[in-house]
Symmetry: C2
Subunit: 339 residues, 2 copies
């Protein structure tokens, strides 16, 4: 019965999330019931959606309960099993949460997925070859649906979603332009992630018109599709450069997660340019996961998708790493290594 560090939601944010919203507790892992397995987590995934769960009130998912372990995706190894389908040593993906161990009902459909020994690190299953990768795939393939030669833009370009988006868009013959915060991220996007160009939004200090001008230079034929992770003034600037019949896959609005909602300044552009904007949640489209994961795994296996990771060490570091993610301080997929 190993001791288990856990991070629970202690109280809800008022405005920006702070370290004091979280609390570290230590418990013993309970004895397993029939059908259960005990998983030791190697990596915990930190993702922007978690900020939404910290709020009360209606969202697309239930709020995180106070006093309970923060939810989150994990990869790990079965260390004890009372389920014949799982053997000690199996590598598994699950929603283990912000803790070192989780007890999982192996009979619940979809609760655990056994992972093959891919030609890439286990952590990729939380990023490029996991939920964020499938998110990029759905938005690109099902909403933007580009033709070869289209220009597509993604904000938060060096994040887990953005790097997968770039590889998927290049594989379809698109020009792919990123938006990221800082010169180093932009350099990395072009040199390592395969972006045709990447624009540093920090150079434009919330000046939408200047950012729109830079987008115009990076996309001389205009923008046909946008995968939007950020919102606010960045989305406003992208909309100024969209072509007629442009498609915007709305995946996140990180600019508005942590405080006041950010308006869309000029929705008349949606009409003038006959654009379509569509919000989606990848977990509602399970039918595409096998096809998406197959392509993402192949891209990662062949080196065409080499996502950057930022790895915090130890569970206690998770809250600070998460706040950094909300502020864009991570560089690539944000993980916490637990072992």
């Amino acid at each position: 019965m190993p001791r288990n560090q856990q991070i629970v939601l202690d109280n809800r944010p008022r405005g920006a999330a702070v370290l004091g919203n979280f609390r570290l507790v230590v418990t013993d892992t309970p004895a397993l019931a029939e059908g259960q397995v005990l998983v030791r987590h190697h990596y915990l995934s930190l993702d922007p959606y978690m900020r939404g769960r910290m709020n009360e009130g209606p969202s697309y998912a239930a709020a995180q309960a106070l006093g309970e372990v923060m939810i989150g995706g994990t990869v790990g190894e079965v260390v004890e099993s009372r389920n014949p389908q799982y053997a000690v040593g199996d590598k598994v993906l699950g929603m283990g949460g912000w803790q070192e161990y989780s007890v999982i009902d192996g009979k619940a459909p979809g609760a655990l997925r056994k992972l093959g020994a891919g030609p890439f690190p286990l952590s990729y299953y939380l990023g490029a070859v996991g939920m964020p990768g499938v998110t990029a795939w759905y938005g690109l393939v099902k909403i933007i649906a580009p033709k070869a030669g289209d220009s597509v833009v993604v904000s938060a370009a060096t994040g887990a979603v953005g790097s997968a988006f770039a590889a998927l868009a290049r594989a379809r013959g698109c020009r792919v332009v990123g938006i990221a915060g800082g010169a180093e991220k932009c350099r990395y996007a072009v040199q390592e992630l395969g972006f045709d160009a990447c624009i540093d939004h920090q150079r434009y200090g919330n000046e939408g018109k200047a950012l729109a001008q830079a987008l115009g230079q990076a996309c001389p034929q205009g923008i046909d599709g946008c995968f939007e992770n950020v919102g606010g003034w960045i989305l406003d600037a992208v909309m100024l450069r969209m072509n007629a019949f442009g498609r915007i896959a709305l995946c996140g609005l990180i600019a508005g997660y942590d405080g006041a909602p950010q308006p869309l300044s000029n929705p008349a552009l949606l009409l003038v340019k006959r654009m379509r904007i569509e919000g989606f949640i990848v977990s509602e489209h399970l039918e595409v996961w096998p096809e998406a994961l197959k392509e993402l795994g192949a891209l990662a296996g062949s080196g065409r998708l080499r996502p950057r990771e930022t790895i915090a060490q130890g569970l206690a570091a998770a809250p600070e790493a998460f706040l950094g993610l909300l502020q864009g301080r991570n560089f690539g997929k944000q993980l916490v290594q637990l072992i």
Copy 2:
């Protein structure tokens, strides 16, 4: 060679459009060249899209040139013809503009459409059984695509588009709720146009939450589809009541036509509710017109679509009637009778 009163765009609006933007001129109709016909207009259509054309700068259509006759749809009668396909006395629909007569090249594809003697007035071809009707059809059928039992909402409910929308939605088994300005329009919408309910937005004085509450009472199962003609705070209120996977057909943003753009206050709702919002221009979807006009004609012929019309008398009255349309002073389809 009859004398022809015409209204030209004299200068562009700065902010709100005013009477001084227009100028009435009188010319002689020119002698016809081979292939041309002279049409005497019975009715001129006034439509919100014309306000966009008065501005300079990029929109979905070229700006109206200064000093030229304002564009606009017309129904009328051929009074002289040098084209064997058109005989004197033929009733025709065209884009004759804000003038009493137009000279049309009968050979240009789509320039004129001969009208049958339907079981309804000629003016309907400019409204319910014309472009506004097809606009309602496209937004409802192709974007909202409702199932029977869905709740759908339309703003500017008693206008040409709104009244057609109501008849089309009822024919599909939807609950259809209107938004209009003033108690009289709302009464008319329910008693004459077949709306299940109609909300008077003037009662809520730009208070989005109060309007959203009224929408919640009118749509106890939430809103599945919205046909948006107005935008601004009214669209914000509708979005608060939309169901997951709701569809918004964006046809007009009359709230922002005449002055500052109106933001969309909370685009995060698009994500939280996985909504789709899509702008469209009905003239880009000519493939649907025959099917749409057939249904609209049948609804009008059987009395299930009885649109209200507001008819100004004489060409000189057009500018003031148009400004009234932008301010919602019309009641139903705004026309100018010229004969």
